[in-house]
């Protein structure tokens, strides 16, 4: 299993240079249930709370390690587009915000393009880096999706988009809005080549990102609790001056409203993706036709699928529901407090 790599390695790293750790860093407070979680438990559970099932955000590198076979993948060097095309400044210069984001993340922009294997099938991934200016979509992100799409077409592999984004990047103005068209072209190029396009929506997926490539997947998967929307909750509340319904715009809500195919627990994500890719890519059985087994009950066969498709259903459901609400509220507060753009735009 992939998650072994993702926690064994950090653990080793920690054994080597672990003395510097201060006790504070060893415990994390869950935003869903406010329980304290020991960091090793958190690592082991892929940053999902073992008490309430709250899915915390994980970095793009961890995400890719989790999904690719043996945590192995190759990133694609992306060219740098024109910087600051509008000469934008608000209270700060856009160039300063960019520099800061680059220093903090070590990445050029909010997208990482990688290729490798999932369940033995080659794939290309375009994954957002939410830590980079709230994963906002400007020209570089549009270029990233196009690069990923073209690599998928050349390699004849599926394209997997993994958005985690507040929406279009205001600092690139109208050119960010135009990325909605450019990323849709990326999707069309993959479609024209007859290749699968799968979207895995993370928390949050909003604004112009949702309203373009993210909602055009052949198969749409979302992580439990992820906020997925066009207009942000605050904008809607201000417009209609009404309280929003419980669980509004979270992944489960979208599932109920027919907007995503499945809500999949992080621990089942890799297996689910591998299966979806395999079903779409390998139409024929590897060997001879497998005869239908008359003895096996339908329940056995559908077991795996129902596990993945049922949105968020761990053991203590009643308990968890109350905690999820709290988690969502926290998430919204946190979003409101972000200095950078964390509101849906576009």
């Amino acid at each position: 299993m992939n998650w072994l790599q993702s926690w064994v390695r950090p653990k080793l790293r920690q054994l080597v240079g672990g003395q510097k750790d201060i006790p504070d860093h060893l415990w994390h407070k869950c935003k869903g249930c406010e329980e304290m979680i020991f960091h090793r438990d958190l690592e082991k559970n892929l940053s999902v709370c073992q008490h309430c099932g709250y899915h915390m955000r994980i970095g793009v590198k961890k995400r890719l390690e989790l999904l690719f076979d043996d945590a192995k993948y190759t990133t694609v060097e992306l060219k740098s587009p024109i910087a600051d095309p509008l000469k934008f400044r608000d209270r700060r210069k856009y160039t300063e915000r960019l520099k800061e984001a680059r220093n903090n993340t070590g990445e050029k922009d909010a997208i990482v393009v990688a290729h490798g294997a999932m369940g033995g099938n080659k794939v290309v991934v375009a994954a957002f880096n939410f830590d980079f200016m709230a994963g906002s979509m400007g020209i570089a992100v549009g270029d990233g999706l196009l690069t990923a799409a073209r690599l998928a077409v050349v390699q004849e592999t599926p394209l997997i988009a993994i958005p985690a984004s507040g929406g279009a990047r205001m600092q690139e103005g109208i050119l960010s809005l135009m990325q909605m068209a450019r990323t849709t072209i990326a999707v069309e190029e993959v479609r024209d080549a007859g290749l699968p396009y799968i979207v895995l929506m993370l928390d949050p997926t909003a604004g112009g990102v949702t309203a373009s490539f993210a909602m055009l997947g052949d198969v749409a998967i979302a992580e439990p609790g992820a906020v997925i929307c066009f207009a942000g909750a605050r904008v809607i509340e201000q417009t209609i001056r009404e309280k929003l319904p419980e669980g509004f715009q979270c992944a489960e809500y979208l599932y109920e409203h027919g907007m995503v195919d499945m809500v999949v627990h992080r621990s089942a994500l890799s297996e689910t993706l591998n299966r979806v890719i395999d079903l779409l890519c390998n139409h024929k059985p590897a060997g001879e036709l497998v005869p239908l087994d008359e003895d096996s009950s339908p329940a056995d066969k559908s077991d795996k699928k129902s596990q993945a498709a049922a949105p968020n259903e761990p053991a203590s459901k009643a308990d968890k529901d109350g905690q999820d609400k709290q988690g969502k509220q926290d998430k919204q507060d946190e979003q409101a407090n972000q200095d950078n753009q964390d509101k849906p735009t576009g």
Binding site: I82, L86, G173, Q179, M180, L216, P245, K343
Partner: protein
């Protein structure tokens, strides 16, 4: 009665005095033609100088002017045999986007546009030009219909944005917009878009991924409203004026950025001062664009539309 914008106050005062004088001269028989003439030329000069250097924020106000011609006015004046088509065949008819078939310069075309409404009743009926998913799904249906029968598509853009409401989100506002962009990009017929007022974000581009995107001189097109941008980046909606400048949302800036293809001049004092002249210029511009595409093969139309959008972002402002 003319609706004056804040920055038009000096013009309003002058024009008010001219009215008064005319009234007086009518009653008392005093010959004040000279005085009226002088004041009229003064008012015109003021109008020229004001409109020659509109700030981005002032343009935003002009673009939203209540008396500016709306989609229905363009259809009335430019489209013969207009036959409205309604509904998304799934949930509802959304009047924030209107559309139908008709004849433009003798040719069958499909016309689709945001409609804001001209008075309170109409504004409510058309939801202030803010579509729900049904509006975009109707637009998709109409574009696909046009594609099937080889009708060029003309879209009029004039929206504050897609409607931010619970129902709209529940029925997939994001998916409706995404799919609409997808349909625009797939068309094998010419698609001409004209921004006549406000090009509000995703709600606008949903029906504006066109072979030619034209803009009226004082219309705006932006990733977010100046007010929305100010409240996020300046943490103060009152800074909308600064945000309007930073966003580069004027027709001129968008032409320089390679996002639009042509700016259509408005009459002196803005489209709202002479709707008929505005619509005439718009009609001529649309006709010119359609002529360009009349001989082109569907595949070429689609490929060149994609090419144009792929290039966006390679050109910045100097």
């Amino acid at each position: 009665m003319h609706n004056y914008l804040d920055f038009e106050k000096p013009i309003a005062e002058l024009e008010g005095k001219i009215q008064e004088l005319r009234h007086l001269s009518g009653e008392g028989g005093v010959n004040i033609a000279d005085e009226v003439g002088r004041m009229q030329s003064k008012a015109e000069k003021l109008l020229v100088s004001t409109y020659a250097k509109l700030t981005p924020w002032q343009k935003t106000q002009v673009a939203r002017h209540a008396n500016r011609p709306h989609t229905v006015d363009y259809i009335d004046a430019l489209i013969e045999d207009f036959t409205p088509l309604a509904g998304d065949r799934a949930f509802a008819e959304d009047l924030a986007i209107i559309g139908g078939m008709g004849r433009f310069c003798g040719h069958s075309v499909m016309v689709i546009g945001h409609e804001k409404g001209a008075d309170t009743e109409a504004r409510i009926k058309h939801n202030f030009g803010m579509p729900r998913p049904e509006g975009y799904r109707k637009a998709q249906r109409l574009m696909s219909l046009a594609n099937k029968f080889g009708l060029p598509v003309i879209t009029f853009i004039d929206t504050p944005g897609a409607y931010p409401g619970i129902d709209a989100e529940a029925r997939g506002q994001a998916e409706a917009i995404a799919r609409s962009i997808d349909v625009c990009l797939s068309l094998k017929v010419p698609l001409i878009s004209l921004v006549i007022g406000e090009g509000g974000s995703g709600g606008a581009i949903a029906i504006a991924v066109a072979n030619s995107v034209l803009m009226l001189q004082h219309s705006i097109y932006s990733v977010i409203s100046p007010e929305g941008c100010a409240s996020i980046l300046w943490r103060d909606g009152a800074q909308a004026k600064d945000a309007a400048g930073a966003l580069r949302l004027t027709a001129r800036d968008l032409l320089d950025l390679g996002v639009i293809d042509k700016v259509i001049e408005e009459p002196l004092g803005g489209a709202h001062r002479d709707a008929q002249a505005t619509i005439r210029s718009a009609g001529q511009a649309i006709e010119e664009e359609l002529k360009k595409y009349s001989e082109l093969d569907g595949g070429v139309l689609r490929a060149s539309r994609r090419e144009k959008f792929l290039k966006m972002g390679t050109k910045g402002l100097s």
